[in-house]
Subunit: 149 residues, 4 copies
């Protein structure tokens, strides 16, 4: 299923990873990007906690959303989220190494669906995210020369 | 609809606002908390941006989720999110002052629904969030003496 | 907010109400349609029940979805659902007269958000539905001459 | 992963399939039920159509919801939906043979997540459904002797 265009799109999307934006601010790392797939990880620190001292829903969502964004931008065109759902199953605790894995599910026209799961070190699922993306007519490569910095 | 217990719960939930957690790390401010209602704001800075230089979905979600958390913890019991949905309508840009307003919708048993809308300075809706909460049997006041720090 | 075009669109959307489709098959009635608003009702019968003898989630969803469809087609253009969420709060029982009320929330470009609530006779909320619609370039009036029959 | 208790629960859940309820009214058929899995099918007829003559969102949701209900009741305990999301990707047309396949994803405590996909004859995905279930303390076998009729 991997085609050459996808490979170059993967390079393009890696090139726009924005270390100065939220991804860097939260300490996210890109582990793997391929056609329609991305894995992003983070270690849960005190600055990611909520009122009760466990991982803030926004930290988990940000991790999943970043994996989703990388995965859905591997298709060559600038693609944005239109809506997302997240179900929380287990809390994250300080020190957890969290991994979000995003996978393309299906596309019709400019609309696609991606599934993302967030795992902890014990391979337990902490949260299940579903994202709907909308593909624009702009090319990712137009951004990868540094326009976003 | 405001009752005395709610008023003391509002004080309790304000007391557990965690400046050292994600809320502080993202620069969120509590504008207003009342029974079943909360308003939280943030100014969008570079550290909140996504791949394309607009507000990261995770920054918007975090803002909405924090307003939701405050609103649903005003009822006296420690209450957690079970699932959330967010629909993105317009992008946030650097310098925007964003306001999330969370309102209780309904409760049955230990399960409640809250609506949250995120507005920019022009009073445009940027995102619409719906949260489902689950009330535990622990009291918020048990945390407000500083257990989460 | 009501404009003349909306009024004629309301007539057009009423004209395409499909009694021979699912709406008629489930016994739904249109109570009210206006610009961005619709109320649809049904009486819960045995043919609407689930495995455990209460209202099937699909019956409640259908009621909400039909109210959503009427409301989002009052803007003149053929508009379809892209995604929906539903939260169930209380069961419906045989004999309940159920009312779904759909209200427009916001629009950006061709994408809009609608809220729908389902009430029983006691004015309790049974379910909370959120729909995202996508507006096509076709006119509703092109269908109201009977093309869908 | 299949255990003996699950096998008897599968029999119990098959026994409560309610032909006189919505499932029968819409013409749904149970194709397969196993531990955490269910496949339900329907042929799309005129009584399943929406305003524009394609499959009503409520018909698709009902199909998915019934598969979800069977799958999540194979665990021995009466289990109900707390909330669901559905994304529509392609329209269903009259004569389509639609298949909904529900699969358990994960459980924590009394809360579980299930994925459901709806396919047409061409194996295209028409809709993607995610359900969150809540397990009660009642046994499915208490219903299978005909209490729901």
């Amino acid at each position: 299923m991997i085609d050459k265009d996808a490979v170059s799109s993967v390079d393009a999307v890696k090139a726009i990873w924005n270390k100065e934006g939220l991804d860097g601010h939260l300490g996210l790392s890109v582990d793997h990007v391929a056609d329609g797939i991305a894995r992003v990880s983070m270690v849960l620190h005190r600055e990611h906690l909520n009122l009760y001292g466990t991982g803030h829903g926004g930290a988990l969502f940000s991790l999943a959303d970043s994996a989703f964004a990388l995965a859905c931008n591997t298709r060559g065109y600038v693609t944005v989220a239109s809506g997302c759902t997240i179900e929380f199953l287990r809390p994250a605790i300080v020190g957890d190494c969290l991994l979000a894995e995003a996978k393309w599910v299906d596309t019709n026209g400019k609309s696609s669906i991606y599934d993302v799961k967030i795992y902890n070190d014990k391979n337990e699922i902490l949260a299940i995210f579903k994202g709907r993306s909308h593909q624009t007519s702009k090319l990712v490569t137009d951004f990868s020369s540094g326009d976003n910095k």
